[in-house]
Amino acid sequence: MIKQYFLNTWSGIWTVLVGMKITFKHLFTPSVTIQYPDVKVELPERSRNRLYVNMDDCIGCDQCARACPVSCIEIETVKSVPGDEVGKTSNGKKKALWVTKFNIDFAKCCCCQLCVFPCPTECIKMTSIYEFSEFERDNLLYNFATLTPAEVDEKKDSYAKLEAEKAAQKAAAAAEPKPVAAPAPEKPKEESSNN
């Protein structure tokens, strides 16, 4: 009983000293802190962060938007009219669509990378940027389309005109089926060259 009492006292003091020795050792071990904004850890090779779209290569095929599980990519395209030079992708294919709208809402994006795989031209990809917080949620809506609103209107107009002409042509063709293609091909050519 008495012996146990003194043993308790001794073990109490001893264990405290052992603990103090350990903490004292840690006082001099180099710290593991990484001074984050000054020092950054290198990200793993396949880390998924913010997306980037290289619009020079984008053919506006909408595959990425369809793959996205949270529907945060919004794409609108306008067909180019004959004579328009939309440009070429980096592997030399001709593009056929004006991408008039390419918005990615990073407030919704879950960084799943599912949009990256279907892209035929590999133009949508993950970057290593992860510091893009904003005070306004709207600021997270990134617009990748390169066309200005005026240009977008112009492309839309020209396509609408083309459509209208085609429709008119069809209507004309339907109205008088006998004189088949004699006068028709001339008209659109004039119109499109005006554009």
Binding site: F28, T29, T33
Partner: protein
């Protein structure tokens, strides 16, 4: 004495008294609190292999000043249900309690608030002021956590005063004085004259006393640690159980007041331990001033040693805080009533016998 010097300089005893009373606050406690808060954070950080504050100034050295500026700006929030007078008095009273202790602490041989003959008894007396103000804070907050913290605190402080006092009585039987100044004066010379090594003089009693003095020093350190509510005895403020204990409801400057009182208390008890057992302001190796014949250097050396010893004990308190987990309330009481008090009592009896023989 600094008071005599000031009153002869100014020619008015009241003004001299006021200046004298404010000196430890502005010269000592505030700078100490600034340093101690940073030290606490740095020590805790490095013990956990972290770095602590790093971004305000070089290695965060002006972090505390930034914190104080922040606390100054904060709104003084008070809930509707608090008992307003008590709620407002409590933080001031806490600080008064811990500040009053500084009146009898000898910083150097001629810088002491008052040459009180009952110095150590007075300090133990005013330190129980803390209980009252903590109970006040807990009760007036009208918050269950605050009240729980206050109740625990009262129980803890009242119990731990007993071993402290028993050890102090032991010392009084050995030295025959209750004045901290005399006590410090007695331990002059070299470190083998300190009470922890049996006190001044060279005889058999001194050597016989050594083990009992060490036990006494350990007991008084533990119990004063408990009196300032530091981990492992921080049940009154136990952050993980009681939010912040008795000062849960406080904010802004009132909170800062509690904080300042805590750090002032830490230093006060460290100073008491060092004055009782480790020679107070006395240098362990003799004075450079005496050696060179420049007597004005001596008080500054004494202040240096006093601060150094105080800070050393404060460091040990922090060290313990980041080593030990918090005791449960029943363990706290067990430690005090079943271990510290019997040991202190046996110590007192044996030392008394030795002194008589």
């Amino acid at each position: 004495m600094i008071f005599d010097w000031l009153s002869s300089l100014i020619g008015n005893e009241i003004i001299a008294g006021i200046i004298c009373a404010c000196l430890p606050l502005f010269l000592f406690i505030l700078p100490f609190a600034l340093v101690a808060v940073l030290m606490e954070r740095k020590v805790s950080a490095h013990m956990q292999d972290r770095l602590g504050p790093m971004r305000t100034g070089y290695h965060g050295i002006i972090q505390t000043i930034a914190d104080i500026l922040k606390l100054f700006q904060k709104e003084d929030i008070m809930s509707n249900e608090v008992d307003k007078p008590l709620f407002n008095i409590a933080p001031v009273l806490t600080f008064i309690g811990s500040y009053a202790a500084f009146a009898a602490i000898p910083f150097t041989s001629n810088f002491i608030g008052t040459k009180l003959d009952l110095g150590i008894v007075y300090i133990l007396g005013v330190s129980s002021f803390g209980v009252v103000s903590i109970l006040m804070a807990g009760w007036s907050s009208n918050n269950k956590y605050s009240l729980l913290g206050a109740m625990r605190s009262a129980a803890q402080l009242v119990s731990y005063e007993i071993p402290t006092f028993l050890v102090v009585v032991t010392l009084i039987t050995v030295t025959g004085t209750t004045s901290l100044l005399n006590l410090s004066e007695m331990q002059t010379g070299h470190f083998w004259n300190w009470m922890i090594l049996g006190g001044p003089g060279l005889n058999l009693t001194k050597f016989l006393l050594i083990p009992f003095m060490i036990v006494g020093a350990v007991i008084v350190f533990i119990s004063t640690l408990a009196e300032v509510n530091r981990t492992p005895f921080d049940v009154p403020e136990a952050d993980s159980e009681l939010v912040a204990g008795y000062y849960t409801e406080y904010s802004g400057m009132k909170f800062a007041m509690f904080f300042l009182a805590e750090y002032a208390n830490m230093f006060a008890v460290s100073a008491i331990v060092s004055a009782l057992f480790f020679g107070g302001y006395q240098s362990p190796f003799g004075y450079l001033g005496n050696l060179l014949g420049v007597s004005w250097l001596v008080p500054f050396e004494q202040l240096f040693w006093f601060t150094l010893k105080g800070c050393l004990f404060v460091f040990v308190q922090m060290w313990l805080r980041w080593t030990l987990p918090r005791l449960r309330v029943d363990q706290l009481m067990t430690l005090c009533w079943k271990y510290l008090i019997p040991f202190a009592f046996a110590n007192l009896l044996i030392v008394g016998l030795l002194v008589v023989l």
